[in-house]
Symmetry: D4
């Protein structure tokens, strides 16, 4: 009756990491580089933790855009990695779309650089083909906040859901009891404030036990 809650489902979601390349990252100025690096690694770690099929793609690695961030390559040694020969919209690359469809998932989690192009273009194309699209906004970066706002508006108007890596992880996990340690580690490694909470907590508990 009401508006359906289109909810991330770890059995039905794939992750697309688009153009997180060392050169392109120098263009990102709407998020501080320390935080952005953390966020990109966090969305990747979450993809890995939930065993989501993950697809990597790059644009012109051999040119100024530079290579894919090495950490991502190392985290997903067996993932499909499509080095696009020229298509700006990854969805214009047949191999990429084939890899996406090969996952058999209907939910696409997308992050990339830069937001209004490398993220927005495949997001809009995927929506047209009836995928459910979730944009990881804080692992997607661009020139400045004005540019970001315009890109978000375009994607949201077309039906994409704007998420963050933390919301993504929580929505996929559903229940802490599925694995307290694992989710805790994911948070501790990528949210300094949460790490502090955990360190304080375990310190006090250890202290008390030692009495």
């Amino acid at each position: 009756m009401g508006k359906p809650y289109v909810r991330l489902d770890k059995d039905n979601a794939a992750v697309l990491l688009v153009d997180h390349q060392t050169g392109l990252l120098s263009l990102v100025r709407d998020i501080d580089p320390d935080k952005f690096k953390t966020n990109v690694l966090a969305v990747a770690a979450a993809a890995k933790y939930f065993n989501l099929p993950t697809i990597l793609t790059t644009s012109f690695e051999n040119g100024p855009n530079g290579p894919l961030v090495p950490e991502l390559k190392e985290m997903f040694p067996d993932a499909p990695f499509i080095a696009r020969p020229g298509q700006i919209n990854a969805w214009d690359n047949e191999e990429f779309v084939k890899a996406v469809k090969a996952t058999g998932k209907k939910q696409l989690i997308i992050a990339g650089v830069v937001t209004e192009v490398c993220v927005a273009f495949p997001a809009l194309a995927a929506l047209e083909e009836d995928f459910e699209v979730f944009v990881i906004t804080d692992a997607s970066g661009t020139f400045n906040p004005l540019t970001r706002d315009a890109a978000w508006d375009r994607m949201s108007s077309a039906g994409a859901q704007l998420m963050t890596w933390f919301g993504m992880a929580c929505e996929l996990h559903r229940d802490w009891r599925n694995d307290v340690e694992g989710l805790g580690a994911l948070f501790s490694n990528h949210i300094p404030d949460y790490r502090n909470l955990m360190n304080s907590y375990s310190f006090f508990n250890t202290e008390d036990k030692s009495v």
Copy 2:
């Protein structure tokens, strides 16, 4: 004919305070802590003032998330208090949903920490079940404005109405004549600028009378 005005009604509204826990509060960085504390206490005070059924819930009080803010516990000693054993989305907890439905209200006023998870997830789930959802944005906090903006967009697109505690109080009260003193006290206690106006006003009036 026009667009119906979905308006808060004190006879048809319940308040859900989700995960305002002492540890989680250290994660909130999109609102200054002094103002955020004031806002959380204000939405609680408004709930109490309008005698709205109020439900408290927490996630993992015994872990790093920490206990519910003590002031909230003290303000609602008899309210349903659901310490969820693990569900991240409060709406996944049967006891919580039962408590919500037991109120018999169709309007849900939600505030919590963090916005994109503890607020957005139950908000989206409640919308699916045809509740009217009002998010108290300024008593809901999260990591940073970018995260907040994404969460607001997701909830608004799904049909939630974005409110603030002040708008909520005004829409519930309808007419100052229902209780000038009471509403005035609510404002004076939680809006320093309004307190100053009231103090100046009463000072001048007292002065004049004393002549």
Copy 3:
């Protein structure tokens, strides 16, 4: 076929100035006070310039909210002025609605303090009754940008059009040739940068003529 352009029409528009009171103005912190004062006087001057029926209303002038800004009273000595005895939403006041309907206009231009209450409530109520609602965002103020953003989202989702006094004046005027002097004076008096342009321009022209 396309989306109709709902456009301000000076023969079909009325202006509602809601609760611009000297006490309430001290609550406005999302716009700098110098600019806000200019904007409020500008929307009033535009209303006057275009001879739009204008309605003034206040809430509790004899209390801390304080009196209507004197300049507004002076500019509209003959306008309906509804000092509401208690209704927070001006639209809940029969006299106010009667005055609005007496104008016979279907387009309502609304500005007020504070945005999420004194502007949003009557805006939502008027939309329900099929009025076309134009919110003058920069002559409406509130506690902070977060509060404003939530209020804008609520009004925009309900179909209100977000405008500024400058956009309003331009859309009403349609063509400079209708009165160059008049519109120029409106801009010169309320936009310092435009005044500078005009002063430079007329200086150069006068200079040249004096040769």
Copy 4:
């Protein structure tokens, strides 16, 4: 089935540059002037690079608004240039609309000064006539961010797509292989960070070759 991806197509798009005049530019304060100048020249360079029919228009060049930015005039010596005698909304000028329709394109890329008037008014009018409208947000400027946000909301609600010049260029180009040099030059000339990447890259390559 899904939401159609309304995508810029270089064979079906025209560019409207509205009122980038030397006087009006002093009103633009939502974007830094160095960046704004770059963006305006970039959208013009992109229009030229993709051979899009381009229409220039101004309002009152002989008054305080000042002349069209000379660089634009020089870049499009043969483009239709409509110096409007008074219409504020360019779409109210018959000659302008005739020029637009003469292009035979259904996609309109619009940028101008100021956003909420010179851009929004023709954008809304064109949407009414079933054009697909793409607003180049970063080559459109206005008084301040609040004004911009309101204008964006109005245009987006009416169906305009918010873009940036970089997104526009990428969506029109589709594939780097269509012309690597040309697109690279466009970026190098208007994105300092990208120019740096290219300079580093070619330096290293030249260096290596010189070994």
Copy 5:
């Protein structure tokens, strides 16, 4: 030999609270009102906690400036309270200076509204008479950050030390062991983040004990 450390000493310090009046507070826009209220009450609570002689003064309570904030009056019922008949610089009021000198202290801790006048003027005058002056910057407010920066520069150049209430309390207290409970309460009541830390801590300790 080195630069002497001019350090607050609770046996040699007095507190001057200048013009924290309900009307003047509406002028303060360089600090958010929620935080500013907290800071003003915090410096007062610190003064009380350390038993520092405290002097209150106001300017024109019976005019628009309004009365002293009632909480301050209540906290210091027996403190010298100088309602200045007209002197803008409190140091121009003989009674005020007499009260200051009667304390016998050489260190003056000053906070007030507005910073560049009510704080800076007596600070500069006191420095001339060889007092050591400590400005509590976060309990002093003014029109905007630009104004504050100019005032800080003037006072700092003249030799005043810029402090905050937290630094003041810590420097006066010297050692937690002097009174853990008291200082903890001062922090808990005026620093929400610290209160959260204390609540988490005591919850865990109580929990453990209850096992």
Copy 6:
């Protein structure tokens, strides 16, 4: 003994208004134009109110810099007005220095556009000749805050005192009893928040009297 308080004295101060020209004002982007216009008129009004000798000067009125703001010309019809033929530093103009010295004052209050040139250069030159220099920071504007900060640092390091027009007026006036009406009018006309306080106050007083 202590550091002397170099205090503005209305019998020993002159005001220099440097290059507030209609063209140059479009360069000012470190202060919002509405507030900047208010501040410039405020320092002029204060100069007039305290009968301080005032000197106006401009640079190249007949070129792009444009004429002196007309309001200033009208306020000081008989003041020395030095239209410099080319000297960028007003102090390099003999006529200007002669006019300054003819006032017989040792305290110079300077405001102008742009801060790091038109203000800083004569300020540094005057300090060299042993004048006491007070920079009215909020009636001096420039390209951006970074530029302003550098200019302030240079002037402050050289011994100039950074003031604001409000601090200047208060320091010159010394005691409200010298003229309550006059100073109140100065504030009411240039500080919207203060005007509101005065309007509320007089409204309540009138109301009470009318009972």
Copy 7:
């Protein structure tokens, strides 16, 4: 003759890390937590890299302040670690001062939480004893920028030099040739932008080699 350049010397410098405790870190809001964590680890890594004697100290680890950040403990297993029993100013703790003096160094590099207390107090005390003090500003955090600015002003006025960890590392290293790999690794691990530069560079070089 000129002003002596007081320059960090790796043979004469010691590092003091003061109160980087898991609880206190939740108070730091003038620097984003991701960046702050990076900076703190960077200053520690630099201390280790240059083999500078390093002293750790904490305040009340067993209370709400929480334990020292575990990473720091692990990096300096053999460093003096002074858990102060109550002294707020570390310099008031004899053991701490003894440890400092035992290093035999005259240059003290200090970082800590919170800036205006845990950093400023020992910095001012050390200056009094003729140490040369270098504050690592970006590895020191506090409640908000206003607080930080006041603390910086106090320390700078007393003669402390404000540095950052990057400036510290560069000034200590003097010449890349001393160890290109080592310094590069330090930068790569703590400056995402620099890591990107290095990754692009080595990718291109490897590529070329592989040809």
Copy 8:
């Protein structure tokens, strides 16, 4: 008698451009890249315009830092260009110091990347040797504003004068009459707002003439 005005003198000044390299520029985040590029080219153009001896230097061009910005190399084909083999502080490079001293100038104008290292280190070293140092703050960039503020404080405390390229050009030029065209072109090419003023001005003058 008073404080001497240490004023830039075109016959006694040299310009040092330090490490404006394409890789290092990606680290600059305290100034927007469009503006920063403009500023760097502006200080170079000013150096050229005033025929100031200019020295270029780089650090590790063949590594990740990348080559000197090509535009600078082209502007100064005959200037001393010192590619430092490893010294981080350019002043530690004998060849560089020799080149500086060979100019015979006592005033050094310095700009570079990054501010706290490449600018601050040689600035402090030059001050020690009694040079007069002028830092061009807006053509010097670094990681973030916090870093910049610390670097400025260190340099200013040591006696460097903080300037901007515009202030530098104005102080060197002294009098427009020395060359109106030249200075105007310098401004028009690097200050978009000034270019607009000039374009409006010449347009009006040409228009009038054509009558």
